[in-house]
């Protein structure tokens, strides 16, 4: 219960953060050349200035920046993100359509990177200086230094074009009319390459942290205590080192949630996945700033949510948190 309270308190503390972000971005976007109406007019193939003025009044764009900001924040509280100029739908609807793909991609990548990172990190730490460590660390470094989009492209070349094992892009076979399990399998097939692409970079980071964390923990006093009790190496790792070594990993997941979302922009573009990232890219290219701002807002919410969950998990793992240290 204390843990939940503490996490909730941190959640409450992130509300002002969120407001600062949005106010800052809103003002920033005031600097952008062209507004929603310009984008709309361009979409309609031009129009006369009178219509533009009328539209500006309609959207409240003739008000001073401060008043616009107040209106915008007021609407945000009601989760009204405004109208997307390009898609002709409310921004909230557009985002809701795209969100599941991104969540699926992120969830799959995060699980792969996290679990893989733990296993490889422990293996490397157990065999430090020997060939498994060298091999794992070398691979980690290579993945770490590889731009993810390039990795994705090369994956397409190898697995989609040359070997023909996996589809080159898209979320599912459009028009195949799959349903039920077949559809799930089809989507899974489509997500293999994007998930690997997004996960490998993070896997590299996680395995390095896990390796360092294990080495650190294995040198601590209580590990020596456990050995002095007569516990074997496996027992020491499973019962004493692992859980302690996981703490920095869990923190890292929270810290990197935003980075992972950023990464999905690129990966979704490479694999033509209809997700939030691709939407962000499209709205930048088409200057649909309302949608862009909405995406930023939703991403921030997502990151804050992930951090809330991370706080809860951390509190479960570490009893010292509930005591306030």
């Amino acid at each position: 219960m204390t843990i939940l309270l503490l996490a909730l308190r941190r959640l409450a503390a992130s509300v002002p953060t969120l407001l600062v972000i949005l106010a800052g971005l809103f003002l920033l976007l005031q600097l952008a050349p062209g507004d929603t109406v310009d984008a709309l007019m361009a979409q309609m193939g031009g129009g006369d200035p009178a219509t533009a003025d009328e539209l500006r009044r309609y959207y409240g764009l003739d008000l001073p920046a401060a008043a616009q900001l107040a209106r915008y924040l007021g609407r945000l509280v009601q989760l009204d993100l405004g109208q997307s100029a390009i898609y002709g739908k409310p921004v909230a609807t557009v985002i809701a359509e795209r969100l599941p793909v991104t969540l699926l991609l992120m969830g799959a990548s995060l699980s792969l990177a996290f679990l893989g990172g733990i296993v490889l990190g422990v293996l490397a730490a157990r065999r430090i200086g020997q060939w498994p460590d060298t091999l794992i660390s070398t691979f980690g470094l290579m993945f770490y230094a590889t731009p993810s989009f390039w990795f994705g492209l090369m994956g397409i070349v190898l697995f989609a074009i040359h070997l023909g094992w996996l589809p080159a892009g898209g979320f599912e076979e459009v028009g195949a009319g799959y349903a039920g399990l077949t559809r799930i399998l089809d989507i899974a097939r489509h997500l293999v390459l994007p998930t690997l692409t997004l996960a490998l970079v993070f896997l590299a980071t996680y395995l390095r942290i896990m390796r360092a964390s294990m080495l650190e923990v294995m040198s601590l006093d209580y590990v020596r205590t456990a050995r002095a009790k007569g516990l074997g190496e496996t027992g020491v790792i499973v019962h004493h080192a692992l859980r302690n070594a996981l703490l920095p990993m869990v923190t890292l997941v929270g810290l990197q949630a935003g980075t992972m979302l950023g990464g999905s922009v690129v990966v979704e573009s490479v694999f033509a996945l209809p997700g939030l990232g691709r939407l962000a890219y499209e709205s930048v290219v088409q200057r649909d700033l309302n949608t862009l701002l909405g995406i930023v807002f939703v991403s921030a919410l997502l990151v804050i949510t992930v951090n809330f969950v991370v706080d809860l998990i951390y509190g479960r793992l570490d009893p010292r948190i509930a005591a306030g240290r």
Partner: protein, 542 residues
């Protein structure tokens, strides 16, 4: 010998690049059933390596290259790892120095005790729980049922050490190895833990290999004593013989360096006060943040009033958390006291703004505890000492000349002024810190545990230096310490602090001879080896 453990001609090699080739060279020792062997030595003597060699818990790269460790006749050096694991915890138990870090912070105390049973026995969970409870009762844990469910951070240092002992004793090992088990504890807790170890050892007839650096502890607990220096055995024999009739010159020197628990007669306490504290309080608020009322309030210093006569040394004595360090930091204004006045001559230091205090910096200076953290690792020794005068506007040339002079005064070679702190030993660093403070020509010197991180022989030298400086320069000194032996050695008057308040103050001799407060009595009683007077000097002049 009816040896339980017999170490024969043991040598342990260090990895290349260490400061010497062997951690241990040709050490032979024996521990019999039902006896406590104390291995005593200063840092670097190899005493901890000895303990870890028996347990086969040496760090990678450190390994025995000659000799044998015979446990019940079997040489542990060559025993396979799996067999060694069966011995650890069951036949040989071990407790460590740092109770704060020796327990896994994420698992309950009961679970960690139970683990010993789970590793070595096939007992059921219920039986294990009962045994763990019985063990906690045996180590006199207050409320054993609650302690079973407690996480380490919920226990005090002494309680954690009790859990460690319970864990080590769970399967009634024939041999207990204790590596400085009370060093990190407060003196009253230390007294109780030592009594506990002694009592359980006697009841079970265990052999104990007890590693320590403290001759007081040796006098308290040892049946036999082995003295080590630089990896070699210097002297070994029954406790009484080694403590009171040491043969080896090194042992004699070590014992001579131990301050006797006797006040030295002092004069000058009638001199006018140079520093007067009145009603000084300091309160910490922690946590809570924006929500008031949730903050935890700690009254670190409560209404302390004291005075320091000119040219004398006032000792502030207390255990950890007594507020003695907070008080010292209030006086030099590293902390701002909440209430009260701190009068130095005509100036109330407590009332000065931070900026104004900077102008008064020369008048009161501080010497710190940790010889490694108290010097900026990137500045040369001479510069460190010259820094203060330079801040006051003295030219670099003059300041360095003064530093050179001070180096001589504190017993350092002025040629070493160009060296970086890491090139000095702990005692030398403390001398640099002292020179840095003296360079400001302070009226009052505040010394915060200046010798507690030093080996006993170095400690004696630094104490002698402080003593002679006080006489030569007419220094007035506030000396913060947890160690009553040290306080008796150097202080004219002492004030005993507990929970932020002064419980008793007076001339050292009076306080030692006839303590008024119950806490002072408890503190004096808990000093390990209080009955032993090093070197058996004259009868106490109480």
């Amino acid at each position: 010998m009816s040896g339980l453990l017999s170490i024969e001609n043991l040598s342990v090699r260090l990895p290349p690049g260490a400061d010497r080739s062997h951690a241990l060279t040709g050490v032979s020792l024996a521990v019999a059933k039902n006896e406590i062997l104390c291995v005593v030595g200063e840092s670097g003597s190899g005493k901890s390596v000895l303990a870890n060699t028996v347990m086969r818990l040496l760090p990678p790269g450190v390994r025995p290259d000659a000799g044998a460790v015979l446990f019940r006749g079997r040489d542990l050096v060559g025993v396979p790892e799996a067999e060694m694991r069966r011995l650890r915890g069951r036949e040989i138990g071990m407790i460590f120095q740092e109770p704060m870090t020796a327990l896994n912070p994420l698992r309950r105390a009961g679970d960690q005790i139970a683990e010993t049973f789970r590793i070595h026995t096939t007992l059921r969970a219920r039986e294990i729980r009962e045994k763990a409870l019985a063990l906690l009762a045996e180590v006199r844990m207050p409320d054993p049922v609650a302690a079973l469910r407690a996480y380490p951070h919920e226990l005090s240092g002494g309680q954690r050490q009790r859990v460690m002992i319970a864990m080590a004793l769970a399967l009634e090992p024939a041999l207990l190895i204790a590596d400085e088990p009370t060093t990190a504890l407060d003196v009253t807790t230390q007294g109780r833990i030592l009594a506990l170890i002694r009592e359980i050892q006697a009841r079970r007839g265990m052999g104990v290999l007890f590693i320590t650096h403290d001759f007081g502890v040796v006098a308290e607990i040892a049946d036999r004593v082995a003295v080590m220096q630089s990896g070699r055995l210097v002297e070994e024999g029954p406790a009484d013989a080694v403590l009171n009739r040491p043969r080896a010159p090194y042992t004699r020197a070590l014992i001579a360096a131990v301050p006797p628990l006797l006040p030295r007669a002092r004069s000058g306490t009638a001199a006018p006060a140079i520093l007067t504290l009145e009603g000084v309080s300091k309160t910490y608020r922690k946590g809570g943040g924006l929500i008031p009322g949730r903050a935890r309030v700690t009254h670190a210093v409560r209404q302390v009033s004291l005075s320091l006569p000119r040219g004398t040394t006032l000792g502030i004595v207390g255990e950890s958390g007594s507020g003695k360090s907070t008080l010292a930091r209030c006086i030099v204004r590293l902390l701002d006291p909440d209430t009260g006045s701190i009068r130095l001559g005509d100036t109330d230091l407590a009332a000065l703004s931070r900026r104004a205090m900077r102008g008064q910096a020369g008048r009161v200076q501080m010497v710190f505890q940790d010889p490694f953290a108290s010097l900026n690792p990137r500045r040369r020794a001479g510069e460190l000492v010259a820094q203060g005068p330079m801040l006051q506007g003295v030219s670099r040339r003059d300041a360095l000349a003064k530093a050179r002079e001070l180096f001589g005064l504190v017993g350092l070679d002025p040629a070493a002024m160009d060296r970086l702190p890491h090139e000095f030993s702990g005692g030398q660093r403390q001398r640099i810190g002292l020179a840095r403070a003296l360079a400001m020509e302070p009226e009052v010197l505040v010394a915060d545990e200046p010798v507690s991180a030093l080996d006993v022989s170095v400690q004696a030298q630094v104490l002698a230096l402080l003593d002679s400086l006080r006489d030569r320069l007419g220094l007035s000194m506030l000396f913060i310490t947890h160690d009553l032996r040290v306080a008796g050695q150097i202080c004219d008057r002492i004030a005993v602090m507990k929970d932020g308040a002064v419980v008793e103050a007076g001339p050292t001799a009076e306080v030692f001879a006839a303590p008024q407060a119950a806490y002072t009595r408890a503190l004096l009683d808990a000093v390990p080896g209080r009955a032993w007077i090093p070197g058996r000097p004259h009868v106490p002049a109480a």
